[in-house]
Point group: C2
Chain length 431, copies 2
């Protein structure tokens, strides 16, 4: 029987591993809860009505249809038996493996407040993105219908919790919607009066970037009208706004729309793996991997992407970005192919191609090795790189054209409010 | 105070009326439950994964943003007081009008079986379309996982109830998915073995078309692998299939996916209008209108589009197609503008530009006056006309490109299974 490789999760890591195993002498099974791979770096564009879900997602079966050695299963893993080398899926199916690649990524981290998830959705997954879009658009709708100034102001105030890349993208994009995109759409409100407030616990935005780029990002955010509150922690969230603490000062921001971008934690599978294999799990739930991405004592199990804590290069875990997942996926495939030929490979090494974050039209920061860019050039760089990846992964040139067109015209055709009927009606008008 | 025109519904009729009132000396209010206008004729392409929702929908506010005399309200009408000339919205708001245009269209008609709605969704609205897409794609997923031949066959059988334009489009598109689009995506099933069965009560498909075109459509459907069952009525639907009666013969088709395209009825507002104004309502719930689209005794209320029964031209109601809505919307605006200038206009006359239905790639039928076309030419005609409308309404050239690209490559990038988590997992594997 051929060697059986099972890959759980078809994000950047899992999908790249599967692709790279195309010509391997192995039967590959890819298991994911969803039938599509999501281009997560552009998810904020779905949340802000610039792109449609279908434009940043590709059916996994379609991507892998030419990998004749690969089958795709829609399923949810519920248990692993590392001794028997089998997985149990939620639907009762038992999947045996010879080599297992776990690449189930990360999810929003609400720390000690899981109840905030409903009040402040995070940007994980298509459904969350369309829900955020619905909330942003409904806030303008409700502001238009509001019968008093206080209520109107609360609807026109948007709080983004977290000042990392996602928080920066969301803040900038919401500000652009209010200032440029819907500005002629309403008759009772001036959408330019909308306030976007970004709350960040650390002393600077984008704190994984060099200090000069944080400064540049902050300036660009302010130019777009985003207010930043640094050194600030959210202490409470309810349907009417957030309480924010800065030093010993605490105040309340009335805001009907709150978006969570304050951090992620590893998928719960990390803990499960730790229990089963004795592998060490860090406090974010990531599994600490060996230099070759396997688990200690379990060379047949690899953990890659956001779920992996790889401390062997910089002493710290590698960042949770697409590039790490992609390179780990490629490495995992290379390792498996080498083993099948009784060969060995060098330990994994991450090649940091750079770091970038976008803020808005013609506004971004980028770091490539020692080079730092801010503003238009950084944005063009960001645009180019993301477009190239997107076109490469889906072969859909139209996204490129649509996107370019949207940026030039400030048109956002995808700003549809969809979902369950009870969500659609505006809130009762309180007169 | 300026004359106040209130338009309920932003489908083809309502939206065209609003657009045409741009320069009228009147304040216009457009009320819709949704924030977008839907290009309904292409909704089946969303249901079959060829286009994304955002590609066939345009935000109403965006479409009307340059109409400075027009405001858009997101709201649901719950009552009309024709004597006081006011509307009551579900959220409690009271909207006064001088002239009212009611254009709330139609909805699926399950006749005496409202319980079938959940078992056999119809193609009305974005959420229904994505639900149908989910069911079609999940059927293939479940077939791939099925553990016995009988179960597999039921998942690979698709029943479309109704052989009108929507039924024809859906049947053809599902057959194309199975035969061309997902054929390389699965490992345990041959998707070419899928059966698409169209059930039609009358003696022929597309029975509103001339007989020779019905024949041509049937041939083209058969060529695409669709089985047609004419003279047949559905007598029962459950989670495992449908019972079909033909003459005195009744049998059961095992099918996990059933789609409803067997007819529409007018929006419930028709009945409400009838009660309030004494206007006659036909058995489909449509309001019988005067030659100028107003209600008898209520010249300040116009009913247009699918909700109107206009018998004055052919003796029968005009068909429920986009063209009728568009022309009625234009007429309503013309009438109002004339009245504001104390002028009169001639009664409404529908100019029938033709009738067409698409079946698949290079397969369609078209009637333009005395000319009848079938096959490639009809399809090119259909393609051209729909593209022109679509581009005109949304200014989104990318849809044209995407669409063209999809047809050429048989790529269907938008085949995402989205929705609530409980829908996503495949059904339990019964072993």
């Amino acid at each position: 029987m051929r060697h059986r490789v099972v890959i759980i999760g078809a994000g950047f890591g899992g999908l790249n591993a599967a692709k790279a195993l195309r010509n391997a002498d192995a039967d590959v099974t890819v298991i994911d809860r969803r039938n599509f791979h999501l281009f997560q770096p552009l998810l904020y564009q779905v949340a802000t009505g610039a792109l449609s879900p279908g434009e940043i997602a590709a059916p996994i079966r379609g991507v892998l249809s030419k990998n004749k050695n690969t089958r795709v299963l829609l399923g949810d893993m519920s248990a692993i038996d590392a001794a028997a080398k089998t997985l149990l899926l939620a639907d009762g199916a038992i999947i045996p493996y010879d080599t297992l690649i776990v690449a189930t990524g990360s999810t929003d981290n609400y720390f000690a407040h899981p109840e905030w998830a409903a009040l402040a959705p995070g940007l994980k997954g298509i459904e969350n993105a369309t829900e955020i879009r619905r909330r942003i658009l409904m806030a303008f709708e409700n502001a238009e219908r509001a019968t008093n100034a206080e209520q109107r102001k609360a609807y026109l105030t948007f709080v983004v919790v977290g000042g990392g890349a996602t928080g920066t993208e969301m803040s900038g994009a919401i500000s652009e919607i209010a200032r440029d995109i819907v500005v002629h759409d309403f008759r009772s409100i001036n959408t330019r009066e909308a306030e976007v407030i970004m709350i960040e616990g650390s002393p600077r935005v984008l704190n994984s970037f060099p200090e000069d780029l944080s400064k540049s990002a902050e300036d660009q955010l302010h130019k777009l009208g985003v207010k930043t509150r640094l050194h600030s922690m959210v202490t409470a969230i309810d349907g009417n706004g957030v309480s924010v603490k800065c030093g010993d000062q605490e105040d309340h921001i009335s805001a009907k729309t709150v978006i969570w971008a304050a951090g992620v934690k590893a998928s719960p599978l990390g803990k499960l793996l730790g229990e089963q294999t004795g592998a060490e799990v860090d406090k974010s739930g990531r599994v600490i991997v060996e230099p070759d991405l396997t688990l200690k004592g379990h060379p047949d199990i690899l953990v890659i992407g956001d779920l992996a804590n790889f401390p062997h290069q910089t002493g710290k875990p590698l960042p949770g970005v697409a590039q790490v997942g992609i390179q780990m996926g490629d490495y995992a495939a290379k390792l498996i192919k080498a083993r099948l030929k009784q060969k060995t490979v060098k330990p994994f090494r991450y090649w940091d191609k750079g770091n970038m974050a976008t803020i808005g039209k013609a506004a971004a920061v980028a770091q490539i090795g020692p080079l730092h860019f801010g503003g238009l050039f950084a944005w063009l760089l960001w645009l180019f790189i993301h477009l190239m990846y997107l076109v490469g992964f889906s072969n859909r040139l139209t996204v490129l054209i649509e996107w370019f067109y949207n940026y030039v015209t400030m048109n956002r055709g995808a700003r549809l409010i969809t979902g369950d009927a009870q969500h659609i009606s505006p809130e009762k008008v309180i007169s």
